[in-house]
């Protein structure tokens, strides 16, 4: 098989460029660490200035509740001030994200039931912090008027009993399937058709276009060498992701084998797709621009960061043909739910068909002349 010589050539060249492989591993891991820590699921540590002008019992109870939030979910931390103006100026000056003002007649109005109020000034340009503060302060206010705890449950009241089907998945753990897919994407951008573009750029392509290698030999050879390197990258990123975020893998060889299969299928699909788009490019700059563009349009609508169900209709339609969406879905099912082949059968079918179609088009459209 002459394609094996193409594979050998490519792999030898990669072996002598380890920096590019190292960078392709580091990038998804950095992404995992940065995204996992900056895009936290729950908001924490917002500075909240509190000015309490009331010494009554309900103001004290409200302060207790606020301190409970500060100690528990840690949504905010309290800075006690004695002056409303200083607190609001502090918000305007960016020192605090919000200022809570408890007026002197707060307790009195609760007792007299004459619309008691507290004031919350927030920096609403930061919608996420402002929303979280509103929610946390509303929660603290809700509790203060309960005078007693009911001894007996009300039998007519409806309770929601929430049952988790799977073990709890932390936010950073939930990113691992996405970063594995990102590693695959990175791999497919530095192997396969990229090497063809580089050869064309350097004028080296002439040397093998002049040999009896067929279109199939060239495309297959480059795709298979790309598959080898990319699979290796994805596995390294997967193992590091699992170790960093502490995902317990209890499915044994079956689970690992299925994950391996999804990685291989996704890699083959993406490598072939890149061949269709970049098979005639002749400058690495084109690959660079294309890579940034494709990463955005494939990665974010893949469900790796946010659920596809919440997308608008047009983006959902795109997600239906996005191979990364199927890959993320399959990996999430395998990593977090254990081995459930019937749950990923649809994903595997799509990825297999996608690979077959893109590979065929890639070979057909590859131009063997200059």
């Amino acid at each position: 098989m002459k394609a094996i010589a193409v594979i050998d050539r490519d792999l030898r060249k990669f072996r002598r460029n380890p920096v590019i492989i190292a960078m392709s591993v580091i990038m998804p891991i950095v992404y995992l660490i940065i995204l996992g820590n900056s895009f936290q699921g729950k908001i924490k540590g917002i500075p909240l200035a509190v000015v309490n002008y009331d010494s009554g019992q309900y103001a004290r109870r409200l302060m207790d509740n606020l301190r409970a939030v500060e100690a528990g979910p840690k949504t905010f931390f309290i800075i006690n001030l004695d002056n409303q103006k200083a607190a609001v100026d502090g918000v305007r000056g960016g020192r605090y994200k919000g200022a809570l003002i408890i007026p002197p007649d707060f307790t009195k109005r609760i007792i007299l039931t004459t619309r008691p109020e507290v004031g919350l000034f927030t920096d609403n340009t930061d919608a996420i912090s402002s929303g979280a503060l509103n929610e946390a302060v509303s929660g603290a206010l809700r509790e203060i008027t309960s005078r007693y705890t009911p001894i007996r449950e009300n039998p007519s009241e409806v309770y929601l009993r929430s049952e988790d089907l799977y073990r709890t998945v932390d936010y950073d753990q939930s990113l691992v399937p996405g970063v594995v897919i990102m590693a695959i994407f990175m791999g497919t951008m530095i192997t396969g058709v990229f090497n063809l573009v580089m050869d064309r750029f350097l004028g080296v392509d002439e040397s093998y276009l002049l040999t009896p290698l067929t279109k199939g030999d060239i495309v297959t050879g480059l795709v298979v060498s790309g598959l080898f390197i990319t699979t290796l990258l994805a596995l390294i990123v997967f193992v590091l992701g699992v170790l960093i975020t502490g995902i317990p893998l209890s499915g044994g060889i079956g689970q690992c084998g299925a994950i391996f299969m999804v990685i291989i299928l996704t890699t083959l699909g993406l490598l072939s797709m890149m061949f269709i788009f970049l098979g005639r490019a002749n400058h690495p700059r084109i690959v660079g621009i294309f890579s940034g563009f494709m990463n955005v349009i494939l990665f974010f609508p893949s469900g790796a960061v946010y659920p596809i169900a919440s997308f608008p209709g047009w983006l959902k339609t795109f997600a239906r043909i996005n191979p990364e969406a199927y890959a993320v879905d399959a990996l999430k099912a395998l990593i977090f739910k254990g081995v459930r082949f019937h749950a990923i059968a649809g994903d595997i079918t799509f990825l297999t068909l996608f690979t077959l179609i893109t590979m065929t088009i890639a070979i057909m459209t590859f131009k063997r002349t200059l």
Partner: protein, 335 residues
């Protein structure tokens, strides 16, 4: 008895890139075992022609049979029979010399043992045995070129195409390349198709040469035949201080003068028997009013033939195409 077929048969071969006709209805044959040179100024269409003959470019019109196979209908068979050294350096810098040759041999499906023996022999012949296992990135330009010529001989091709193989090489490396090509020719009865714009190279190596300009063949024959076709066997080159406007017709009127070419302050006078006539010519030209600074006589060379046919020593090249999308940096594929 059937005559030995031609190694290369080209008939009305044409290649256009939009409005630009790079090769214009070219026809010629190259005999089996012949060393054929293709001469032309930069941008004359040499590389385009070689790319059509080696299946890298599809001709716009006409036909070419290479090693008894049609380049358009049987490109795979053509590629199996030829070895091509393109103008640009095409060896992989990240591979060693040996790896470059070995992988190339595998592209042709040569069995391992044969491949190994052939590579050892070829590397020895081009003087690269000691550096065989070093990365090509560490080679000099001359070493890289020698490796590339050796590489295309791994599969023992019937026809070897060399597109300006000595471009940019120092005189020592050029000589080594020449010797190697001649040695290989003798051993393997190779047909060699060489494009060059080094006239001394063509004169020293080629059995026949064709001169191409603006995509058309304007002269073809052995170097001696071409030289004899030009009137005046010798050339007297006069370097002057300024040239009066009527110098050309007046000099041409001298009986032993066959032709006059003026290039800047230099007058090339094609004469019979240069050594005898030089003193008389100087007198005649002085009478016309030319002040002579230097005189040189030499027997006609292929370069004189070339200049006779192509007219100027320096040629304005066509502007290279640069992509509007990605700018400069893409090696030109058009010529």
């Amino acid at each position: 008895m059937r005559e030995k077929p031609f190694a290369i048969e080209v008939s009305n071969l044409t290649k256009s890139f939009g409005n630009l006709i790079a090769v214009d209805s070219v026809s010629f044959n190259v005999g089996s075992g012949e060393f054929f040179g293709f001469l032309g100024p930069n941008g004359a269409g040499k590389t385009t022609l070689i790319r059509m003959l080696t299946t890298l470019l599809k001709p716009t019109k006409g036909s070419a049979i290479v090693a008894s196979h049609d380049v358009e209908r049987e490109p795979a068979a053509v590629r199996n029979s030829i070895g091509v050294v393109p103008q640009a350096m095409t060896s992989d810098m990240d591979l060693t010399g040996w790896e470059n040759m070995d992988i190339y041999g595998r592209f042709y499906g040569i069995p391992k043992k044969q491949r190994r023996e052939r590579i050892v022999y070829l590397l020895e012949t081009v003087g690269l045995s000691a550096r065989a296992h070093d990365l090509v990135a560490t080679y000099s330009g001359g070493m890289r070129r020698r490796l590339e010529i050796a590489r295309v001989l791994v599969h023992r091709p019937a026809i070897l195409f060399l597109d300006e193989p000595t471009l940019g090489l120092d005189p020592q490396s050029r000589r080594v390349v020449w010797e190697f090509i001649q040695k290989s020719r003798g051993e393997d009865s190779l047909t060699i198709f060489l494009t060059t714009h080094y006239m001394d190279e063509a004169e020293a190596l080629c059995d026949r040469v064709a001169i191409i300009d603006y995509g058309r063949i304007i002269a073809i024959g052995s170097p001696d035949e071409l030289k004899s076709q030009i009137p005046g066997n010798d050339i007297i080159i006069l370097t002057t201080k300024g040239i009066p406007p009527d110098i050309e017709p007046k000099t041409k009127a001298i009986p032993y003068v066959h032709n006059v070419k003026i290039e800047g302050d230099t007058i090339r006078v094609y004469v019979d028997n240069g050594a005898q006539n030089v003193a008389d010519l100087i007198e005649e030209v002085k009478i016309i009013g030319v002040s002579i600074e230097a005189v040189e006589i030499h027997r006609q060379s292929l370069e004189d033939v070339f200049i006779h046919y192509t007219g100027r020593s320096i040629r304005e090249e066509e502007a290279k195409k640069v992509s509007f999308l990605v700018g400069a940096g893409v090696p030109s594929k058009l010529r």
